[in-house]
C-alpha cells in the first residue's frame, strides 16, 4: 500500500484529487476481495491431526451430474461433508430402482381388459 501511495504521490501533479480517491477505493476493494476470498476458501477445512493443503482447482475434470439441490456431485468439493452429501444424493436415486423395476414388470405382465361379451 505504501508503495502504491508513493506512486500516487509522484503522480499527484498530473492527477486530480477525485481520480486519486477513486484509485484508492479500487485498490481497497481489491485487497478486501482477496482477503474475503482467502477466508471463504479456508472455511470448509476440517481440523484434524494431520494437515495437508491441496492445490486449488483449475477445473473439476469429471463430468457433473445435477442433484436435487442444484449443485453437482463433482462441483461440491471433497470435504467429508461433501462426500456425505454426494452419497445421500446417490442413495435417493438408488431408492427409485425398485420403482423402475416394478414399472417394467408391470408392463411385461400387463393384461388387456377383456372385450368379450
Amino acid at each position: 500500500l505504501g508503495q502504491i501511495y508513493g506512486n500516487l504521490q509522484v503522480t499527484k501533479h498530473i492527477m486530480s484529487s477525485g481520480t486519486k480517491t477513486i484509485l484508492i477505493l479500487i485498490i481497497i476493494l481489491l485487497i478486501g476481495g482477496a482477503i474475503w476470498y482467502s477466508i471463504s476458501n479456508g472455511a470448509g477445512t476440517n481440523s484434524t491431526a494431520t494437515s495437508t493443503t491441496l492445490i486449488n482447482p483449475a477445473n473439476n475434470s469429471a463430468s457433473s451430474t445435477s442433484t436435487a439441490d442444484g449443485t453437482s456431485v463433482s462441483a461440491r468439493g471433497s470435504s467429508d461433508a461433501s462426500l456425505d452429501a454426494d452419497a445421500a444424493d446417490i442413495d435417493a436415486r438408488i431408492k427409485a430402482f425398485s420403482t423402475d423395476g416394478a414399472a417394467i414388470d408391470d408392463g411385461l405382465n400387463d393384461k388387456p381388459v377383456s372385450q368379450t361379451q
Binding site: T52, L54, A58, S61, S64, D80, L83, D86, A87, L108
Partner: protein, 270 residues
C-alpha cells in the same frame, strides 16, 4: 214336435248368430295376441341390443382410457430422461404419440358407432392393437430405468474420482490405504459393468417392432424384453454394490483424519 223342432231351430239359429259374431272377434283377438307377441319380441330384442352395445362401449372405453393413461405415464418419463440418446427417445416418443392418437380416434369412433357390426369390428381392433401397447410400455419403462442407471453410474463415478483423490492424499501422508484402494477398484468395476448392462438393455429393445399377430415374433420380442429387464436388474445391483464400496471408503477416509482444504484439481492427483 213341430213346436219343439221350432224351438230347437231358433236356439240353434241364435247360437249360430252369437258364434258368428263371437268367432271373428275371437279370431281377431287371437290375431291381435300373435301380433302383440311379435311386437314384444322386437322390443325386447332392441332393448337387449342396446344393453349389449352399451356394455361393449363401456368396456372399450375403459380399456382405451387405461392404455392412454399408461402411455402418457411412460411419455412423461421419456421427457425427463437425461442420458438416453436423443434418437432412442425420439423413436419411442413417436411410437407412443401414434398409439395415443390412434386410441383417441378409436374412442371417438366407438362412442359414435350405431351399427352393431361396426362396433364389433372396432372393439376387436382394440384387442388387435394390444400387441403394440404390450411392446411400447415395457420398452419405455426399460429405457427410463436405463436412464436412471446411467445417471447414478455417472454420479458414482464422479464420487469415485473424489474418493481416489482423497485416497491419494492419505497415501501421500503415509497412511495405509490398501483396503480403500481395493474398494475403489471394485467400485469402478461395478460402475463400468452397470453402464455396459444398461447400454446392452437399451440396444436389445430399442429397435423391436410390433409382432402384428406373428407368434414367433411375439415370442422373440418377449424374450428380448425379459432379457433387457434382467440386464437392468444386474446394472442396478452393480450400483448398489458400488455405493457400498463408496461407503466403506468414506468411512475409512474419515478414520484416517486427513485434512482437506478447499477444492482441488482431482485430475492432478490421479
Amino acid at each position: 214336435m213341430t213346436k219343439t223342432t221350432l224351438k230347437i231351430a231358433t236356439a240353434l239359429a241364435a247360437t249360430g248368430m252369437i258364434l258368428a259374431t263371437a268367432i271373428p272377434a275371437f279370431g281377431s283377438a287371437l290375431g291381435g295376441n300373435v301380433n302383440l307377441g311379435l311386437n314384444v319380441n322386437v322390443k325386447a330384442s332392441t332393448t337387449v341390443d342396446a344393453k349389449v352395445t352399451s356394455k361393449m362401449k363401456e368396456r372399450a372405453d375403459k380399456e382405451i382410457a387405461r392404455r392412454i393413461a399408461r402411455l402418457n405415464q411412460v411419455l412423461a418419463k421419456i421427457q425427463g430422461m437425461a442420458r438416453v440418446s436423443d434418437t432412442v427417445k425420439a423413436n419411442l416418443k413417436t411410437s407412443i404419440d401414434l398409439q395415443v392418437a390412434a386410441l383417441t380416434n378409436l374412442k371417438v369412433k366407438i362412442a359414435a358407432d350405431t351399427d352393431i357390426e361396426m362396433l364389433k369390428a372396432d372393439v376387436k381392433s382394440i384387442t388387435g392393437s394390444y400387441r403394440i401397447f404390450a411392446l411400447v410400455i415395457p420398452q419405455g419403462e426399460i429405457i427410463a430405468a436405463a436412464d436412471r442407471v446411467n445417471t447414478v453410474a455417472q454420479m458414482t463415478s464422479d464420487l469415485g474420482v473424489k474418493l481416489q483423490a482423497r485416497i491419494t492424499l492419505a497415501s501421500t501422508a503415509g497412511k495405509d490405504v490398501a483396503a480403500l484402494n481395493a474398494a475403489l477398484v471394485d467400485l469402478n468395476a461395478k460402475v463400468a459393468d452397470a453402464r455396459t448392462q444398461s447400454t446392452a438393455a437399451v440396444n436389445a429393445i430399442a429397435n423391436l417392432t410390433p409382432d402384428n399377430g406373428d407368434k414367433a415374433k411375439m415370442a422373440a420380442n418377449e424374450a428380448s424384453l425379459k432379457d433387457a429387464r434382467g440386464k437392468i436388474k444386474i446394472a442396478q445391483e452393480d450400483l448398489v454394490k458400488a455405493r457400498q464400496d463408496a461407503k466403506v471408503i468414506v468411512k475409512g477416509l474419515k478414520e484416517l483424519k486427513i485434512e482437506v482444504k478447499g477444492n482441488f484439481n482431482y485430475s492432478s492427483l490421479i
